[in-house]
Amino acid sequence: MNTDYLLLVLGMGIVTYLPRWIPLIFLSNRRLPEWLRQWLDFIPAAILSALILPALVTTGEPRQLNLFQPALLVSIPTFIFAWKTRSLAGTVITGMALFWGAQKIFS
């Protein structure tokens, strides 16, 4: 392995690790103010939604709005299934099966 690649990976590793590490070290073992606890309480729902929705309604690079794609269509029954069952395993299996089927129909 050449030195450049070694330096690249170590550099990438450090800048990736620090944002993961700093909040754990500084916020754990500490009594957080109420507003911050509430704010952090909303973060998981906000992040998950921010990760999911763009992937369902956009395609391509640079991204473009695309509402006619299997991923979005399949997400509707997947959402309903998750809402009704609250089962992670069931939702993953159902989502995959529906997506597999949708891809066959669409292509």
Partner: protein, 225 residues
């Protein structure tokens, strides 16, 4: 360990695809494994390999990686609430395994109860192992594995959908999620890269805190907070 299976299932096709691309960019399988071990962040690894392939210098790749992975700052902050009374060493070990997927799964389990840092750590490292192994296999010849079989590409989106549902504990959470999703989709169309995740989440969560404050005044004394 079995709790990690949806993540592992999702990592395999992505890891294989990454391995193939990295191989095409001229990386040996063990160089691929080295990056997966030290960086362990899927999207930034994809971008790095694309930049290597186009002959980019080291510094721009590292800076891009930093920006792409800044969103972990929010995730670790949120996880910190559940990781109390742990030594600095254990927290440092835990930090290594914070990804979009492990964060979402562990947060949900912590909130539901019956979950502790040891189980969360095992989940992190199981997912980590699946990632490293699948990227290396991809580097050896992942192009021979049929793409898209059994809808496996939908494993992670389906997992995220269910975890989002499990995070919803009232109307305000629905509102925050909808606002965050719409903002993220809009920002993702306007700006390149993935800063839209952090931008949308921060705005939506902040709005949630304000709304709760306003709403809380109307129903003072309720244990809603």
């Amino acid at each position: 360990m079995t709790a990690a299976w949806p993540i592992c299932l999702g990592y395999v096709p992505i890891g294989l695809a990454f391995g193939v691309l990295a191989h095409n960019a001229g990386l040996a399988p063990w160089e691929i494994g080295f990056m997966s071990l030290f960086v362990f962040a899927g999207s930034s690894q994809f971008i790095a390999v694309a930049m290597i392939g186009s002959g980019s210098a080291i510094i721009p790749i590292i800076l891009t990686t930093f920006v792409v992975n800044l969103r972990h700052l929010l995730m670790s902050s949120s996880l910190a609430v559940y990781l109390q009374r742990l030594s600095a060493g254990r927290l440092s070990l835990y930090a290594y395994g914070v990804t979009d997927e492990s964060f979402a799964l562990n947060m949900t389990r912590f909130r539901e109860g019956g979950w502790d840092w040891r189980r969360a750590l095992v989940l992190n490292h199981t997912a980590n192992a699946a990632w490293i192994v699948s990227t290396i296999i991809g580097g050896y010849g992942g192009q021979f594995i049929p793409a898209g079989a059994f809808g496996i590409d939908y494993a992670l989106p389906a997992m995220f959908i269910c975890l989002l549902i499990l995070q919803i504990r009232g109307g305000l959470y629905v509102l925050v999620a909808v606002i965050s999703g719409v903002l993220a989709a809009s920002f993702s169309l306007l700006f390149p890269g993935n800063t839209y995740v952090v931008l949308a989440s921060v705005l939506a969560a902040t709005l949630g805190v304000f709304l709760r404050k306003v709403y809380g005044k109307g129903s003072a004394g309720k244990e809603e907070l």
